[in-house]
């Protein structure tokens, strides 16, 4: 399959880039640990001062487990190509893809997975330690079958988050000077995904609204599959929802990029 070769090459290039920046990645993991640390202290303080044993429907153990997992999963699904895309459009590098038999979407996807791989391996390793630690110190037990299901939802979550940010990146076709807008959107989306606090914390109405948006399927849902908040019988419907959202985002991405590149050509890149 010669047409696949170039994407494998792109994958490799992404992989190499990630290795080159391994120090940066390690450091970003350290700074990702800070919020986990802060939130754990907050929850500890809240639970110590609260009267009941449950807050927002979570036990203390579940809440700590959620906080750790949310930090890791949010890091795991995180993209980071938004500014690369912006740069491609700004400098006109994007036009290369319009004339070459190399699709931009598969190029980005292959590059993304290549870059993601070393990090995923590392985070999954940490995750194993966290799960063992949670089990040992807090007595949080996790069933093996849930771990397997979690991994499936995780792959879907990564794909979904990729598509969400791929859609967002198409903004570059309309405005190139956007400062740190993507950074702002990223942090808000993490919040809406449940990457900082469990969504239940913000009330039932908020959760209802979030049920109609794709974001919670990137962080909140995989974690709840793992920690047992979602009964076995309902896991399947969540996965179906993930797939539906992936489909919808694909359509949206396709549409946005089609009109975007049309504009790119019209304006003259």
């Amino acid at each position: 399959m010669p047409w696949l070769r170039k994407y494998i090459k792109t994958f490799e290039m992404g992989f190499q880039t990630a290795l080159e920046y391994r120090l940066n990645f390690a450091i970003s993991l350290i700074s990702a640990a800070y919020p986990i640390f802060i939130q754990s202290f907050l929850w500890t303080a809240i639970f110590n001062s609260a009267s009941g044993s449950e807050v927002y429907g979570y036990t203390y153990r579940q809440m700590i487990a959620y906080t750790f997992l949310a930090g890791l999963v949010a890091r795991l699904v995180r993209t980071g190509f938004e500014y690369d895309i912006l740069d491609d459009v700004k400098t006109g590098k994007f036009s290369k893809f319009l004339v070459q038999p190399l699709g931009y979407f598969p190029y980005r996807l292959a590059n993304f997975f290549g870059q993601k791989l070393p990090g995923v391996a590392m985070i999954l390793g940490i995750l194993v330690f966290v799960l063992l630690g949670l089990n040992h110190f807090w007595g949080v037990s996790i069933e093996f079958s849930r771990v397997l299901l979690f991994l499936v939802t995780l792959v879907l979550a990564i794909a979904l988050n990729f598509l969400i940010f791929y859609c967002i990146s198409s903004v570059a076709f309309w405005i190139v000077e956007i400062g740190f807008l993507f950074e702002g959107l990223r942090i808000v989306i993490i919040l809406l995904s449940g990457g900082i606090f469990p969504l239940e914390v913000f009330g039932a109405r908020f959760v209802q609204v979030m049920n109609f948006l794709p974001f919670k399927y990137t962080v909140n849902y995989p974690i709840n599959v793992l920690n047992g908040k979602i009964p076995f019988g309902e896991i399947g419907s969540g996965m179906v929802a993930q797939c539906i959202w992936i489909g919808l985002c694909l359509l949206a991405a396709n549409y946005l990029w089609k009109i975007g590149s049309r504009r790119f050509i019209a304006v003259g890149g």
């Binding site: 120090l23 940066n24 450091i27 907050l42 303080a45 609260a50 956007i178 400062g179 740190f180 702002g184």
Partner: protein
């Protein structure tokens, strides 16, 4: 003495000009300006989510009511505006300047190099978002807590805010000065920058040991805890003495390290 005062006046005038220039430059790229404001608003939203969590939990944490938390978080948000809007952007630029030799011409000018190199840029958009939001949070908390509105209480609070600004300027500049010796300090910078977020919540939620370290060893807690603690009348004499001494100690350290770094800069390059 008169000469010192004249220098201070000159540098204040220059600072006014630099801020004006920063705004004018930003207005040339307006969508960037608004993009940065959007980012800051995003971060603000996350900080507010902590407030929501605390209010909705409805418990007094370690004896602090949610309104007290609001006062702390409001103070933190407002100071984040100062840090991100006036200090942080220059820190990133300092590394580049040292690397590219951009300090050369500045060194020959009759003006403080440290001033020109660390306070040149300002982002009033970022500052504005946080200052307004933080200000509103502080005022609401102040009212709900029925804190006195007197010259002493408000003035004292503002005085501690000023101390916090000095502490954040010097504390977060210190690691950046290492760029004079090491070319690649972005890693260190990223770690120290995210230290800032430890102030998102009052230090009472941490253990006693962490509190001691955060006040006296790596004094980040001083920044966003002392002003509200003063407003709540909870400052003890040790804290007050420390608040008075710390800015002087830190500014002295910055000065010392800066001079050393400059010596290295002018000895090691060609």
């Amino acid at each position: 003495m008169a000469a010192v005062l004249r220098e201070i006046k000159k540098h204040l005038t220059l600072y006014g000009l630099l801020i004006k220039f920063s705004v004018m430059s930003q207005m040339e790229y307006r969508s960037n300006f608004f993009g940065n404001m959007a980012m800051e608003a995003g971060y603000l939203l996350v900080k507010l989510s902590y407030v929501i969590v605390i209010y909705r939990s409805g418990v007094a944490i370690n004896g602090f009511s949610p309104d007290v938390f609001l006062l702390f978080i409001g103070t933190f948000v407002a100071l984040t505006g100062v840090y991100a809007g006036f200090f942080m952007i220059n820190d990133y630029d300092l590394r580049r300047k040292i690397k590219d030799g951009d300090l050369d011409v500045l060194l020959t000018k009759p003006v403080s190099l440290q001033f020109m190199a660390t306070l040149r840029q300002a982002d009033l958009g970022i500052f504005g978002v946080d200052a307004v939001a933080g200000g509103i949070m502080i005022i609401i908390a102040w009212g709900r807590l029925k804190l006195p509105v007197t010259v002493g209480s408000v003035g004292g609070y503002l005085g501690f805010l000023a101390i916090s600004c000095l502490v954040s300027y010097s504390l977060f500049l210190l690691p950046q000065i290492l760029s004079f010796w090491f070319m690649n300090t972005s890693a260190i910078a990223e770690i120290t920058d995210s230290f800032w977020d430890f102030n998102n919540l009052p230090m009472t939620i941490y253990t006693q040991a962490i509190q001691l370290i955060g006040v006296f060893v790596l004094p980040i807690f001083v920044i966003s805890n002392f002003p509200p603690l003063f407003a709540l009348n909870r400052m003890n004499p040790v804290y007050i003495a420390w608040a008075a001494a710390l800015p002087l100690i830190l500014l002295g350290l910055v000065r010392l390290l800066w001079q050393r770094g400059l010596k290295a800069y002018s000895s090691a390059s060609s």
